[in-house]
Each structure stands twice: as C-alpha cells, then as structure tokens.
C-alpha cells in the first residue's frame, strides 16, 4: 500500500467513524426529558403531555433536522423563549424526516438549538403529528401560506391557548404559521401574554 492510499484510507475511516459518532441518538439539553420516539411510543404520549399542561400556552413545532431554514427557525423560537423566561409555556418540538438527508434521528446539535427547559423534543418518523395537525387545518380552514411538502406539514408553528384540550382531534390553534424563522416574531406576542 502506497503512502497516498494509506492517507486516503485513514481519512475515509475517520469520516465513517465520525459519521457514526455524530449520528447516534442525540442528547436532549439539560433540564429536558429525553428525546421521545413517537414510533416506539404512540401519539398518545404527546397528546397526554399536551393535555397535562392545559393551564399553559402550548406550542407545537414541526421541523426537519437537516433543513437549514428549520434549524434557523428553532434558534429563533429559542431566542423568543429566552426573552420571556417567566412565561407559562410548553413547547413540543417534533422533528420529522422531510428531506432525503433526514435518514437519522436528530443528533445533539439540532436538539441543542432548543435548549430551554420548557421544551420537550420528539422524533416522529411516520409524520403522525403532522397528519393530526393537517386534519385540524382542513376542519378549521386554517391554511398557512407555506409549510407543506408532498402533503406533509413542516417548518411550522402551531400555538394553543391555555384550556384547549386535545381529544379526538387537535384543538383549533390561535396561531398557525410558518416558516418558523419568519413566524417567530408573531409567536412572541402570545408568549409575552402568557405570564
């Protein structure tokens, strides 16, 4: 084996090992529960969590872990949370595979973009949450001017007032728009009032 071949082989091995390291299941930030896989645990996990926090403003985010705009949106929502540390709010960040590069669960990097302790993060491989939101979208005639790819909702913020309950369908949101990076400013008014 020549020196060049050895260097190329070592570089390739480093890349593969690095890939394995970086794409293992990410760690949720300190103060948050572990990333919940909705494939392993049914949608009712999220539904129960949503109803348990019925005294607070609740926000559902739909994001893709390899979409730069979604990641920017996650950071924008995190900034809103940081500016309102006393607001009674729970954010359910639902990561879903939307792009061809979304072949693994969100790693530590994407999860750390939403580091506030009021955030709970989920991996929804089957788009069950997006499908549940789409039913409400149809029923309530709320059609955001964005945020659908091949019929699946993504890069979206949906906010629900205190008292709203998720029974057979998701309740009507008070805010339903995207992209997240563009809609974070609209969310801020609601977060500010949720004290």
């Amino acid at each position: 084996m020549t020196r060049t071949q050895a260097v190329c082989l070592a570089a390739l091995a480093t890349l593969v090992l690095g890939g394995v390291y970086f794409t293992r299941t990410g760690h949720a930030p300190a103060g948050q529960p572990k990333l919940v896989e909705l494939k392993a645990s049914p949608l009712s996990t999220l539904q129960a969590g949503f109803n348990r926090e019925s005294g607070k403003l609740r926000v559902i985010l739909l994001l893709s872990p390899t979409c730069p705009t979604c990641l920017e949106g996650a950071s924008a929502v995190e900034d809103v949370l940081k500016r309102h540390p006393d607001s009674k709010i729970v954010v359910f960040a639902v990561w879903e595979p939307m792009l061809s590069t979304d072949w693994s669960k969100p790693g530590t990097g994407p999860l750390q973009r939403l580091s506030d302790s009021r955030v709970q993060q989920f991996w929804d491989a089957d788009h069950t949450v997006a499908a549940a939101l789409a039913v409400t979208e149809e029923a309530t005639q709320l059609h955001p001017s964005c945020c659908k790819r091949r019929g699946v909702l993504w890069d979206l913020i949906a906010a629900y007032p205190a008292g709203a309950m998720w029974s057979s369908t998701v309740p009507r949101p008070v805010f339903f728009d995207g992209t997240m990076v563009q809609s974070a400013a609209g969310l801020e008014g609601l977060v500010n009032n949720a004290k």
């Binding site: 190329c8 593969v16 690095g18 890939g19 390899t66 705009t69 920017e72 590069t101 072949w103 973009r113």
Partner: protein, 111 residues
C-alpha cells in the same frame, strides 16, 4: 476580421480547456456541480446527491487509471479529489452538521 481570425482565439481557449479536462478528472468537477445544485433544487436532491457520488467514483477511477496523455498525476488533481470527496462524504455522513453550518451562515432558501 476574417472568420478564421475570430475563430482562432476561441479554438485556442477551447483546446486549453480540453487539455485541462484531459488531466483534470471531469468527474470531480461534475460531482461538485451536482452537489451544489442539490442545495437549491430541492425536488431533485436525492438524484443529484446520487449523481455526485457516481461522478466522484468516476473521478477516482480516472485518477487511478491515468490517461496516456497525462503521464503524471498532478498534486492539484489529487488535492482537488480529496477536497471534493471530503465535501460529498460530509454531506452524506453528517447532513445535520452541514445543515447547522448552513443555518449559522444564514443561507435562507436552502431547504
């Protein structure tokens, strides 16, 4: 100016590019192009990433096989191959890290 006079400099440039293409594995340039396009043409992304991978393999094959007219492997070609391979593999193996980097660079619309 005659037509032949106009044509001569253009032909010279084309032959220069032809010579370069002989020594420089075209697959590498193609791989970079396909990968770059994949950032902006979201619907075709899976195909373009696959195409980039195939072109990279062609580039490696060209490099290893060596063409008769290019007796020496240039260091530039090898460096370019390693650089392009690193970018293509990074996107395939670390898509979340690349997306994070793009988000931090504020490349809106790249989704």
């Amino acid at each position: 100016m005659r037509v032949s006079e106009r044509f001569a400099p253009v032909a010279a440039v084309m032959s220069a590019f032809g010579a370069l293409a002989c020594c420089l594995p075209f697959g590498i340039a193609g791989a970079m192009g396909a990968l770059g396009l994949s950032v902006f043409f979201e619907r075709m992304r899976p195909w373009l990433i696959g195409f980039a991978f195939v072109l990279l393999a062609v580039g490696v094959f060209q490099m290893v096989r060596r063409q008769k007219s290019c007796q020496k492997r240039s260091r530039f070609s090898i460096a370019l191959l390693v650089f392009c391979a690193a970018i293509v593999l990074s996107i395939l193996l670390f898509p979340q890290q690349v997306a994070s980097l793009m988000a931090d660079l504020d490349l809106r619309g790249a989704r």
